[in-house]
């Protein structure tokens, strides 16, 4: 009677297929993470404003949140001239419920006091937001211990590595500075005129290698930091080793500046050039890496000849690389929101390891969570020893010295000034 059993099974399958309910995908409640605290039938609109042109990762979270609150309309809106308009918007007639904030806004608190004034204290226990899932080094607290903004993404610097190319040329991906120079030599011999490339407009070029290196030099030197922040001219000496590293690397001829100058922006052109497949290493920031996945299909070269790639910290010492952990984006809740309870509920839903990691993976950014279940492309960062991680928030380097160091590195790298000139110029120009 096997046929009979098969027949019944087929009938049952057909009946279930015909009558069954659609499967609920990605249900966070299945793991018990999120339990709605408000009436599920609540109907309102939550508007998140920011300056991203596109934010698919957030839209995905909207969709997931709608599984719990189907009548809540969530919308992301890009504001023009965000840094300026957000303060106005927060007190306007169509004030957003949730808004973007950036480390620069935190540093320049006076300028953005309106943001701080409008921001809900997300550390309020009553809100139930799990801030414990965030790496402590990334969490900003004001003088009262309030948390006006929650980190959503972390930024870092490194290099995109064409793994297939390294494999093809039988070159090991470098983990130390000497391995880096050695790899570059091998690749040059293999015919790659510029083993490393990077965006050379806007003072970037070697920033992914030199900036973490510079931060590492001063992170335990309070006096140096104070002097640098105070823009004392003698503090320029703290830059010297970094600048000499730039000169040393550039003098080896591993970067073809002319080729780098063809990259007009540090986003699409950088990605698409890397996807051409003949660049072994492309200096970039995580923000740029976030655009790689979407652009794979837009690159004819990559579509025709796809290859495996990943994002690595740039080795700047013989002990290895540094992971400079920089906040990329904060979310704040407008305490004047017409739907404040639902805005806080959305933040409670979002600020969990699962959702922040999910969003970081979708955006291909670095998660701010303790559990760094990094996107595969960032795997190399996860392998670093915690001692090699530098939290910029904890470092306390202010914008002015930071900008100067960055500019000096770029100028030295491009041969526009000498190391001495750059050191001497610190604190003397605005």
């Amino acid at each position: 009677m096997k046929w009979l059993r098969c027949l019944l099974a087929l009938a049952l399958t057909l009946c279930l297929t015909a009558c069954g309910a659609p499967e609920k995908k990605d249900d966070p409640s299945a793991s018990g993470v999120f339990v709605p605290a408000l009436d599920k039938d609540t109907a309102c609109t939550i508007q998140v404003v920011g300056h991203y042109d596109n934010f698919e990762a957030l839209v995905s979270e909207f969709n997931l949140f709608n599984q719990y609150y189907p009548n809540v309309t969530l919308k992301y809106v890009k504001l023009d001239d965000y840094n300026k308009s957000i303060v106005t918007a927060l007190t306007g007639s169509e004030a957003p419920d949730i808004f973007f904030a950036y480390p620069s806004m935190v540093i320049a608190k006076e300028t953005y006091q309106g943001l701080f004034d409008a921001a809900e204290d997300l550390s309020d226990k009553a809100l139930g937001i799990d801030l414990g899932c965030i790496r402590p080094g990334l969490l900003y607290k004001d003088e009262q211990g309030h948390v006006p903004f929650v980190p959503i993404f972390s930024e870092t610097y490194g290099m995109l590595v064409n793994e297939d190319l390294f494999k093809k040329e039988n070159v090991q991906i470098p983990r130390t500075y000497s391995q880096l120079t050695q790899a570059c030599e091998q690749l040059q011999k293999a015919g790659y005129a510029s083993p490393m490339m990077g965006y050379n407009r806007g003072t970037f070029l070697l920033y992914p290698m030199l900036h973490p290196y510079f931060c590492a030099q001063i992170r335990d030197n309070r006096a140096a930091l104070d002097a640098l922040n105070a823009m004392k001219p003698e503090a320029g000496e703290y830059m010297r080793s970094t600048l000499e590293k730039a000169v040393d690397f550039m003098n080896r001829g591993f970067i073809d500046l002319e080729a780098c100058n063809t990259l007009e922006k540090d986003y699409d052109p950088v990605i698409l050039r890397f996807f051409e497949g003949d660049v072994p290493m492309m200096l970039a920031k995580a923000g740029t890496v976030s655009g790689t996945e979407k652009r794979e299909s837009r690159s004819e070269a990559f579509t025709a000849h796809p290859f495996k790639y990943s994002f690595w910290p740039v080795p700047s010492t013989e002990e290895g690389s540094y992971f400079l952990d920089v906040i990329s984006l904060y979310f704040g809740v407008n305490r004047n929101s017409k739907n404040l309870a639902m805005a806080n509920e959305f933040m409670r839903f979002l600020v969990t390891t699962a959702e922040l990691n999910r969003m970081a993976q979708a955006k291909r950014m670095v998660t701010p969570c303790n559990d760094m279940s990094l996107d595969g492309v960032y795997a190399a960062f996860g392998e670093l020893d915690p001692s090699r991680v530098i939290y910029q928030t904890e470092l306390g380097l202010q914008d002015a010295p930071d900008v100067y160091v960055r500019d000096a590195c770029w100028r030295v790298s491009n041969g526009l000034v000498t190391v001495d000139e750059a050191v001497a110029g610190f604190g003397k120009t605005e």
């Binding site: 027949l7 057909l14 596109n54 890009k78 023009d80 979407k294």
Partner: protein, 854 residues
């Protein structure tokens, strides 16, 4: 065909039907979806008209202000004051921006929040005119409206209707500027909805030529429609170009996934008033198509078909099971047939061997009459056994083929019992068996049933009892009547008990199976077919009766048959003795005495019963002395104290010769006749004592009874009869004519039915007394010939008695003969006793007719 192939075929048919249903439904869905998509596209085009009208209307307001400013040569301040007074809605703002500087800056009708006195505005960080202001206005569009942007004054997402103006400075110089009539997107969107509920899930967006949203619906994520498409759909490097090319063409639609992974229909059409703008509408495919595919219906059809298939299979299995049973039965039947033929071959050959062998012996000893007589006697016995065997075979084959039908007729239970006694007497006498036949409470002598089959049942059981009882053994038959389940039925119980050899329990388990005979050295000497009990059981079952057997080896056997039989409509003729007739009856059997007393009293007699012969003598004497003598005395022959003949002698000597004395015989009185005559016995009366038996005998003695003489040996009553015999077979004709001749009866032959009809048609009145009609004859068979004779115009010829004389011996054959108009049936081979009986019956009937004749 193999079962697997049938199942596969069924499954394929079901799958084919389901495929057809799904394909058909899918096709219908596509057709309806296409229709709905067309309607949605049309709705989108309609929305374009609404949008155009709205945009043109707003643009006209902007243009009128600009025209007035240009015409009146206002300064910037004057112009802004003018439009401030012209704005009627608080949600609408106007900006006046100089376009000759590095950045767009100018005046606003509404001060920024927190700066109530500041009516200046700058668009320095808002790229409102990416191609430049001149390019914006030189596009030649009727409506000049910006993308949705963040109003720098209130940070509200807005669109702006633009018109270039020329402002006059205080020094008289003119400066180019642009007037922006700014409307919050939220205000626009409120009015910009689909007019019907049918598309409540539809959303609408306004795009510029680059795919950037001017206004975007909720589901249109990303900042650009192409980005939106590329984010959630499979793309290729040229996707953007292809999409752009498609949207730049005529109105139409395409499908794509939205951010939820839902399949959506995107309808698009150009906004005529702005050339490079597009209206793009989105609706989930499920919303357009949800009503078309009824998956429940498909599911029900699938379930129904599978159920049907399942049912089909179950029925097929059931049929297969039945077929297997039938095949097994057929195989068993075939085996049984082989066994049957084998047994038959043996059982028929045995008497045939005797007949042939003895015939040879007789032929060779023609000169020795003793040997010839002995051989003929044995041939007769073997022939009778062979006839019984053949009859039994025919019966059992009829029963087993299910073709045995009952042919009920009205019959006399008394005659039936008499027949039983007569048949059994020769063997009873031969084996000197103590035979006793008792009846009890027989109220209804005429019953309506298949007499032939009832006789068969009774005879089979009785003959078995006699056969298997040792000489000087005892066989008792009890026949009693009880009320049936309905008033018109009686329950007849027939019990045959013997003191024979009995049966083993093992044999009793299979005794009703054909050809079953007990394996016993004593049995082997007794002739039997082994069919009798099987036939009896089948007959009883057929009559819905029961048969029960109790037996023990060496102790005897008792068979009890219970049949429920309808009472015949024919009433027992009025039997009443002269009132007060004094009857004395003596028997040592109290049951017989009780039954006889009931019967006599019901006949109107004053009866008295005694259990001894001496008692009978005493009662007879006393009655005589009291002056109320018995008019009839009935004595049992076998009485313990004194036999009936001696008792009769004493009564005769005591009360004189007048009183008639009847002797209850032990069924065969021939041995007693001489002694009885000497003792003054008036006559014999045989057991069992039926009502009619008692009435007839007593009436006869009292001089009012019918005349009943034993005429078996006297042929004078039938001698001289002339019979027409319709018989095609020469030997059969010879036998019947010779046998009839032996009894002084003449006969004439007709070789077939037609000749018989013709002969009767020309027969003289009274030329033939009756016709013996064979059934299976050439030209015209006996049945049709009978019908033809009955249809003759001469009523005497047509009314002649016709007796079937045929080898077709089944009850349905008899019924057919009677139905055709015949008066009786005699089976071949001919039993001359039956023939003579029939002839006497007809002769008596003729006499009665003659007596009544005028």
């Amino acid at each position: 065909m193999r079962k697997g192939l049938i199942i596969l075929g069924n499954v394929l048919i079901v799958l084919a039907i389901l495929t057809f249903v799904v394909l058909y439904a899918g096709n219908e869905q596509r057709r309806l979806l296409a229709s709905r998509t067309d309607a949605f596209e049309n709705m989108t085009v309609a929305m374009e008209h609404v949008t155009t009208n709205y945009l043109v209307g707003e643009q006209r307001v902007c243009d009128s202000w600009a025209n007035h400013i240009n015409a009146t040569g206002m300064t910037g301040q004057e112009a802004i004051d003018f439009v401030r007074t012209s704005v009627t809605s608080p949600s609408i703002m106007v900006h006046l921006l100089y376009t000759d500087g590095d950045t767009l800056a100018g005046y606003t009708t509404t001060a920024a929040s927190g700066r109530p006195e500041d009516f200046t505005v700058s668009y320095g960080r808002i790229n409102l005119f990416p191609q430049g202001v001149d390019a914006f206005f030189n596009a030649g569009n009727t409506v000049n409206v910006t993308r949705a942007y963040t109003n720098p004054v209130n940070a509200v997402q807005s669109i702006a209707f633009c018109r270039p103006v020329t402002l006059t400075e205080a020094d008289g110089q003119t400066r180019p500027a642009v007037l922006l009539r700014i409307i919050p997107v939220s205000v626009f969107v409120e009015e910009w909805v689909f007019p019907t509920d049918e598309y409540e899930e539809a959303e609408i967006s306004l795009l510029d030529d680059n795919g950037d949203y001017i206004i975007s619906g909720r589901s249109f994520t990303n900042s650009n429609f192409f980005e939106f498409y590329q984010s959630y759909n499979q793309t290729a490097p040229d996707t953007r170009e292809r999409l752009h090319s498609e949207l730049a063409g005529a109105s139409g639609s395409l499908e794509m996934n939205n951010s939820r992974g839902e399949r959506c229909v995107i309808a698009h059409t150009r906004v005529n008033s702005t050339d490079d703008w597009l209206i793009v509408t989105l609706i989930p495919l499920s919303s357009l198509g949800r009503f078309t595919m009824d998956w429940h219906l498909v599911g029900i059809i699938a379930g129904g078909l599978l159920l049907l298939l399942l049912l089909d299979f179950l029925i097929m299995l059931q049929f297969n099971r039945r077929l297997k049973v039938a095949a097994d039965a057929a195989e068993q039947a075939n085996r049984a047939k082989t066994d049957f033929l084998s047994t038959m071959s043996h059982d028929i050959r045995t008497p045939m061997n005797a007949i042939i062998g003895l015939t040879t012996i007789a032929g060779r000893n023609v000169e020795d009459p003793a040997t010839v007589r002995e051989s003929l006697h044995k041939i007769n016995l073997a022939s009778n056994h062979l006839l019984t065997l053949i009859n039994d075979i025919l019966d059992i084959s009829k029963v087993e083929s299910g073709k045995l039908n009952l042919s009920p007729v009205t019959f006399s239970l008394a005659e039936c019992a008499e027949n039983l006694v007569n048949i059994s007497q020769p063997m009873v006498k031969e084996k000197n068996i103590d035979f006793n036949f008792r009846i009890s409470r027989i109220e209804h002598e005429y019953l309506y049933a298949d007499q032939l089959r009832i006789n068969q049942i009774f005879i089979n059981l009785l003959s078995n009892a006699i056969k298997y009882t040792e000489p000087r053994g005892r066989v008792c038959v009890d026949l009693r009547e009880e009320p049936g389940t309905a008033p018109d039925r009686v329950k007849l119980t027939y019990v045959v008990a013997d003191t024979g050899m009995g049966m083993s329990p093992e044999f009793m388990e299979r005794m009703y199976q054909p050809f079953s005979r007990q394996t016993d050295s004593r049995v082997n000497t007794i002739q039997g077919t082994g069919l009798g009990l099987a036939i009896t059981k089948q007959m009883v079952d057929l009559m819905h009766g029961t048969i029960d057997c109790r037996s023990a080896l060496g102790e005897g056997t008792t068979f009890t048959v219970v049949l429920e039989i309808p009472i015949a409509d024919r009433k027992t003729e009025q039997m009443t003795l002269p009132e007060g007739t004094r009857v004395l009856i003596a028997d040592d059997d109290p049951v017989l005495l009780e039954t006889a007393m009931d019967t006599l009293q019901s006949l109107g007699a004053r009866a008295q019963a005694v259990g001894t012969s001496a008692g009978a003598v005493e009662q007879a004497v006393r009655a005589k002395e009291q002056g109320d003598p018995f008019q009839v005395v009935i004595l049992d022959w076998k009485m313990p104290d004194m036999d009936g003949i001696r008792a009769a002698e004493q009564i005769r000597s005591a009360v004189g010769p007048e009183v008639p004395i009847l002797l209850i015989s032990a069924y065969d009185q021939s041995d007693l006749e001489e002694a009885a005559q000497q003792a003054g016995i008036s006559g014999f009366i045989s057991k069992p004592l039926f009502r009619s038996t008692l009435y007839d005998k007593i009436s006869e003695l009292l001089g009012q009874a019918r005349e009943h003489a034993d005429q078996e040996e006297d042929d004078t009553d039938i001698a001289g009869m002339n019979i027409l015999v319709a018989e095609d077979n020469d030997i059969n004709w010879e036998i019947i004519s010779m046998l009839l001749q032996m009894h002084g009866i003449t006969s004439e032959r007709a070789e077939n039915g037609q000749l018989a009809v013709d002969r009767m048609a020309r027969a003289r009145e009274g030329e033939f007394n009756l016709i013996f009609m064979d059934i299976q004859m050439p030209v015209l068979n006996g049945i049709d010939a009978t019908r033809a004779i009955r249809a003759l115009p001469d009523p005497r010829a047509a009314g002649i008695p016709i007796i079937a004389m045929t080898a077709d011996a089944f009850s349905e054959n008899i019924a057919e003969c009677l139905a055709a108009g015949m008066n009786g049936h005699i089976a071949k081979p001919i039993d001359m006793k039956l023939v003579l009986k029939e002839l006497r019956r007809i002769r008596e009937s003729e006499k009665r007719k003659e007596g009544f004749a005028p």
